[in-house]
């Protein structure tokens, strides 16, 4: 297993930016005239950018993120993507989730990873998703994953009030008792019902145990990452966390929308790592922030449309911060389809980096092949 020096099992947190984050307005090539010429509406003026070096800088709302970067915790993966980017949100996201660009699969890369981390499916909390419905990335037949829409009110019978709910759960437990002789389907239902009860029992200690001086902001991604922190610090054996931040599909009205999203995200990630540090629980956590595609080079007068080459972030105390891969060329002759950024590194190589160098799991069977990796854990 790849070492993090703490003796604790490595933990992986995925943050999905849903809708296609505008990478060019996240890590901004602020000295490029191509950038400013093609983005008369959504372009960020040079003097507002938070510089990283003499060509790139963070969006002005990402001050908190810059702090983490200065502490050497943020690896910026520039130009992440794959050949022939699919501009459909759904297909694009499926490709990221399944590592199958050419055919439709219902099995996710993290589903396969969880099977390696917990082969017998002993702990229903080895993989935990926060959100409504399971992302395809975590789907794999026979791999139990817990999907939590509300950590403070999770599980069965949540529409029934406190004491009466206990009685209802008790009746449920009786009703789903062993169904020996009632046939395999009824037996399967019983077992599944009991698993749901025990998973909820396990996870409910998380909000009970949690205490922190960190005050997260009141927005969806801050709430989700606080939930991740609450479960992680309760030490329930979770190895993979998944959560999403929606609203990045900024075809229109990008100017007020995108800065708010990226600012919320930046603050939430900052608070999350501060929270983990306070609990001495940050040295075995690595976070990947990704999106299904970047956006078009030029704006459409109101926002930007679906594009290709985007960016991702690998964040954590054990990460060697800095810029990885290459920023896609802004040279117009290099634009894909005359309008998109090209990708400079394949996303499956970044998955492979995390799998092999962080989680200690062989990548090729999970990402369907061998791809160039980066080395952010030196």
């Amino acid at each position: 297993m790849a070492g993090n020096g703490s003796g604790k099992a490595p933990v992986f947190v995925v943050v999905q930016l849903t809708g296609g984050n505008d990478f060019m307005n996240t890590i901004i090539p602020y000295t490029s005239s191509v950038y400013h010429d093609n983005r008369p509406l959504v372009g960020i003026p040079q003097d507002q950018v938070i510089p990283i070096d003499d060509t790139l800088g963070f969006h002005p709302q990402m001050g908190a993120f810059k702090d983490l970067y200065d502490r050497g915790m943020v690896g910026i993966v520039q130009g992440i993507g794959y050949p022939n980017s699919n501009r459909s949100h759904f297909r694009g996201m499926d490709i990221w989730h399944t590592c199958e660009p050419h055919e439709v699969s219902t099995i996710g890369w993290l589903g396969r990873t969880l099977r390696e981390l917990d082969p017998a499916g002993e702990n229903p909390l080895t993989g935990v998703n926060f959100g409504v419905g399971l992302p395809r990335a975590m789907a794999m037949p026979g791999v139990p994953v817990t999907s939590v829409s509300n950590l403070d009110n999770y599980g069965l019978m949540t529409g029934i009030q406190s004491r009466e709910r206990d009685q209802a759960l008790d009746i449920f437990k009786q009703m789903y008792g062993p169904a020996i002789g009632a046939g395999p389907v009824m037996e399967y239902l019983s077992r599944t019902g009991q698993d749901v009860l025990s998973g909820a029992d396990l996870i409910k200690v998380a909000p009970e145990r949690y205490q922190s001086t960190v005050e997260y902001a009141d927005n969806p991604i801050a709430k989700s990452l606080r939930d991740v922190a609450r479960v992680h610090t309760a030490d329930l054996g979770t190895r993979v966390f998944y959560t999403s931040h929606g609203g990045y599909d900024t075809h229109a009205n990008e100017v007020p929308t995108h800065p708010k999203l990226i600012g919320d995200l930046s603050g939430a990630i900052y608070d999350f790592f501060a929270d983990l540090e306070e609990h001495d629980a940050d040295d075995n956590v690595v976070m990947l922030v990704f999106t299904e595609f970047g956006r078009r080079i030029y704006d459409n007068g109101s926002g930007t449309d679906h594009g290709s080459g985007g960016g991702a972030f690998v964040i954590g105390k054990t990460v060697a911060g800095g810029l990885y891969s290459e920023y896609p060329s802004l040279e117009p002759t290099r634009w894909v389809n005359g309008e998109d950024l090209e990708h400079t590194i394949d996303y499956r190589g970044i998955y492979g980096t995390i799998l092999e160098q962080w989680l200690g799991v062989e990548a090729a069977p999970i990402v369907n092949g061998h791809y160039e990796q980066i080395h952010p854990f030196e």
């Binding site: 075809h251 229109a252 009205n253 078009r296 459409n300 109101s302 926002g303 449309d305 389809n337």
Partner: protein, 332 residues
Amino acid sequence: MARPYALLRSGFPYYLTMGQRRVTSNPVDIGFGEENVYVLTRGGLGSEVRVINWEDENLGLRGSGSFTWPAGLLVDEDENLYVSDEAKNTITVMSKDGDVLDTWGEPGSDHGQLDRPSALDFDAQGNIVVSDTINNRVQRFTRDGKHLQTIGGVQGSGEGEMNMPWGVAVDELGFVYVSDWRNDRVQKFTGEGEFVMSIGSSGSGKGEFNRPSSVDVDAHGDIYVSDWLNDRVQMFNADGRFIEQFIGDANLSKSGREYILANQVTLRLREMTDLEPTRRLSAPCRVRVDSEFRLFICDFGQHRIQVYKKEAYELSESQIAPPMRNPILFTT
């Protein structure tokens, strides 16, 4: 301004297309300020007031997150915005910047109470007339919500009865027009609430309606009705005689043109297809006509505003032959 004796109707050419999907998404009403145009939108792409200008520039949103089923919008002389919400049974008053100044309305069926308030219009005194859908009536309120009058209130299809009215308008003479939605007709009442006449019946022919969503009246007394599920707007004269219909003649709005020019694939696909349908109305929710005889249609399913402009010459009694009883074939 008195109404002319008669009109030479020269035509009603297409004037302008405004807005685009994700800006004026699913428009249900429209109002005008000094420079701003306020479009009330409702649906999965946003239930709020979108502000644009005559250059079709997107100036932002008002009231985002405040409404469940916003239905009617009014803009007063100070550019305060009045929005009815037929799920919350309220009228919200906002400043032009979106600050909430007042909210009034309570659910119920007593006088002054509301059950799904939908369309709104000002009368000549600046009071607000509200279509009170489930109560099958129209009510008049002061701008701060004091109840003044009730018209109707009986469910049915007889004169003066209503079945889930949606649209309402008041003309400059004080008459009140109601698009009596589930009865497929428009009813006209005096300002005191006396039934005057009814226009239309169920169907898709001329003068027939499939669930009329709104009505408005211009300064000539001409009546415009958005014929919702027939995807058109019909025009009647003050006596209720059908004159013509509008099925849509949109071109690209300014913002739409800019959008397409930034999208090479869209440009190509438009070269591969028949563009005739792009002109047409889709489930128009609201028609409004202004003092310059511009006809604004909220083209709900196409996320835009279609605008026509009336060309008519006002005639005095001496310029036109007197009314005739019989049609004639012989003309010189």
